[in-house]
């Protein structure tokens, strides 16, 4: 059985409520989705709760999956939307535009140093550093840098102004770079 057929078999089984198929899908996507949820939350326990909630939504809506994108992309999108909704629901997204503060982070000579640090660190440690960012910064950094959203898309998804998204990303970038450099200093 090739991969596409196997995936279709799992999807059909999940739609029918087959527990075995549900477990197969859960195990197949768990690691990737846990990494995604960790990036949006402050710690692993919170990420696991978010992941559970996301998987419930996946199983409840799997019959709507039309195969227009890969299953992993579709599930990732549900997880991202779930993360955004949970953060909004918990009122942890306090996004204030920094446009007027006039201190956008710009690329400079310290960037190369921070890039080297990223290269040296394992991904789990990089996620830990991202988790230390304030929720708003973290969310926008994830959406922009890793999920590939544009500022316009972020503004629509979070219900904020495009400028706010830009300023938050700038601040997030600045803080992350600072954390990376501090990590190198302390290492």
């Amino acid at each position: 059985m090739n991969a596409a057929l196997a995936e279709q078999y799992i999807i059909d089984g999940c739609i029918k409520g087959n527990a075995e198929c549900q477990r197969m899908l859960f195990e197949k996507l768990y690691s990737k989705m846990l990494a995604l949820c960790k990036r949006y939350t402050g710690n692993t326990d919170e990420a696991k709760d978010m992941l559970q909630d996301g998987f419930i939504k996946v199983f409840e809506n799997l019959h709507k999956y039309r195969g227009e994108s890969s299953l992993q992309t579709w599930v990732s999108r549900i997880m991202i939307n779930n993360a955004i909704n949970q953060l909004k629901k918990n009122q942890r997204l306090s996004l204030v535009s920094l446009e007027n503060e006039g201190h956008f982070d710009r690329a400079d000579e310290t960037d190369a140093e921070a890039v080297d640090v990223i290269g040296d660190l394992n991904p789990e440690k990089v996620i830990e550093l991202i988790q230390q960012l304030p929720t708003g910064y973290r969310t926008i950094l994830n959406l922009y840098a890793i999920e590939g959203f544009t500022h316009k898309q972020i503004a629509i998804a979070l219900g904020i102004a495009e400028g706010t998204s830009k300023s938050q990303l700038s601040k997030a970038r600045q803080l992350l770079k600072q954390e990376l450099l501090n990590h190198k200093k302390n290492a």
Binding site: G13, A19, R23, Q52, V115, L121, P123, E124, V126
Partner: protein, 448 residues
């Protein structure tokens, strides 16, 4: 891709994390997820059931309001139709002076009026307000006036007064007889219309229960609530939800089934009914995610035949049902295990119904004896390395006391709403994990 200026720091971050996979799931992770997923599914089912019940209550409330309005309108129509000839007023005011013939028809009005009159010092103008008053009323008035006069005056009564005394005595006896007919225990009679009253209680004469709006006939001895059903045939159809007990060792566990109920009743003799019907439903099951977890999608077909005997006025009935309840739990796992079960239930119930053809409420109680025949098929590896199918048959008897409540309310002509709820619990046994079961049903009945 972004149109914004390329940012090497963010690009590197993306490359590092985009395809990163965290730790693999453990059994505990899966079990934790399965637990919360099942809990959510169960909650969703309960929520739907609660909505269904709320809807049911709302439908009944609206029906009751419509019915009461119809009753009130009917009462007004009746008043207009039965208003005395020559009376120009369109509506009858219960507090207005009432003619003697109306008084006789309505004991409550008689009592109210008479009490008022007897307590009044001035007897003038009450019964004389109508010029067409009857002779007996005239005598009554004279008698009452005489009662209030001195002994000296009473000595001067003539023969005509003597006739009045006799009539008054006779009238009093008639009134007392009327009053004794109805003794209300929970609620005072309410006058809905001059010739109708709502009664909840007992008729003292023979202690028969009453729960309805009854017409008050001119002849008080004809209080007759026809309890025997007039219809020869009825058909009922509606929706039902039944929770089922959980069988040990069967995964996924069945929570119950939603389905449809169609049944028909036929009066084979004045006191005997035969009711037969089918229930069809889809099992609602949830997986418990054990090692032997499997999928189970089952339909239930249930044939129910009841012989009902109406013992008389109170409708104490003995039901003898045979329920062929075929549940096929096709449980298939990696060992190709397959279990089929057939339930044969024999309920013996006593039912008590209170009401009439228009509406009634009933209670039932009894015992349900159930035989569960199980056939378990397994595939075993034989000596030659091939697989062999082995069947194992067992039979178990279970006993369960049960109680239920049900009701009928006529909506329009021969069409009425029916609803019921019942609960049963199996006595301790080795077969079931969960011994309780309840059923809710609601639908329509058409009588012919």
């Amino acid at each position: 891709m972004h149109n914004e200026q390329k940012d090497i720091l963010l690009d590197r971050l993306s490359a590092k994390l985009a395809d990163y996979e965290s730790t693999s799931p453990t059994d505990a992770d899966w079990n934790s997820f399965a637990h919360s997923y099942n809990k959510r599914k169960r909650n969703a089912i309960w929520f739907k059931m609660a909505l269904f019940l709320l809807g049911l209550v709302a439908v009944f409330a609206v029906t009751a309001i419509i019915f009461n309005n119809q009753q009130a309108n009917n009462g007004q129509e009746l008043q207009k139709q039965e208003a005395p000839v020559g009376n120009d007023s369109k509506e009858v005011d219960p507090k207005a002076p009432v003619k003697a013939d109306q008084d006789i028809q309505n004991p409550i009005l008689i009592q109210t009026k008479l009490t008022k009159e007897l307590s009044s010092d001035d007897l003038k103008g009450n019964l004389l307000s109508d010029k067409q008053e009857t002779k007996s009323t005239e005598n009554l008035k004279q008698e009452k006036m005489t009662t209030n006069k001195s002994v000296y005056n009473s000595q001067s009564t003539n023969n005509q007064q003597q006739v009045g005394d006799e009539e008054y005595t006779a009238f009093n006896e008639e009134l007392a007889a009327e009053q004794q007919q109805i003794v209300t225990h929970t609620q005072q009679p309410t006058i809905l219309a001059p010739h109708k009253m709502a009664v909840i209680g007992y008729r003292k004469k023979d202690w028969q229960p009453l729960l309805q709006t009854i017409p008050i006939p001119r002849d008080s001895t004809k209080y007759d609530i026809k309890t025997q059903p007039k219809s020869k045939f009825f058909i009922e159809s509606g929706a039902l939800f039944t929770s089922t007990p959980h069988l040990k060792g069967i995964y996924p566990s069945n929570m119950g089934y939603n389905g449809l109920l169609v049944q028909a009743g036929y009066r084979i003799a004045p006191k005997w009914h035969i009711v037969s019907g089918i229930q069809w439903g889809k099992l609602i099951s949830y997986d418990r995610y054990e090692e032997s977890q499997t999928e189970s999608r089952t339909t239930i077909a249930r044939v129910d035949t009841t012989l009902k005997y109406h013992s008389g006025y109170n409708r104490i009935m003995m039901n003898i049902d045979t329920v062929t309840h075929t549940t096929t739990n096709n449980v298939q796992n990696s060992y190709s295990l397959n279990t089929e079960r057939v339930w044969l239930a024999i309920p013996i119930l006593a039912q008590f119904e209170l009401g009439n053809n228009k509406r009634f409420i009933g209670l039932s109680a009894g015992v349900v004896s159930t035989q569960i025949s199980s056939t378990t098929n397994t595939l075993v590896v034989n000596e030659t390395g091939g697989q062999q199918r082995v069947s194992n048959n067992t039979k178990e008897w279970l006993f369960a006391p049960t109680v239920g409540v049900f009701g009928y309310h006529r909506i329009y002509k021969q069409v009425g709403a029916v609803a019921g709820a019942s609960y049963l619990t199996y006595l301790p046994n080795q077969l079931l994990n969960h011994n309780h079961s309840f059923q809710l049903s609601a639908g329509l009945r058409v009588q012919f």
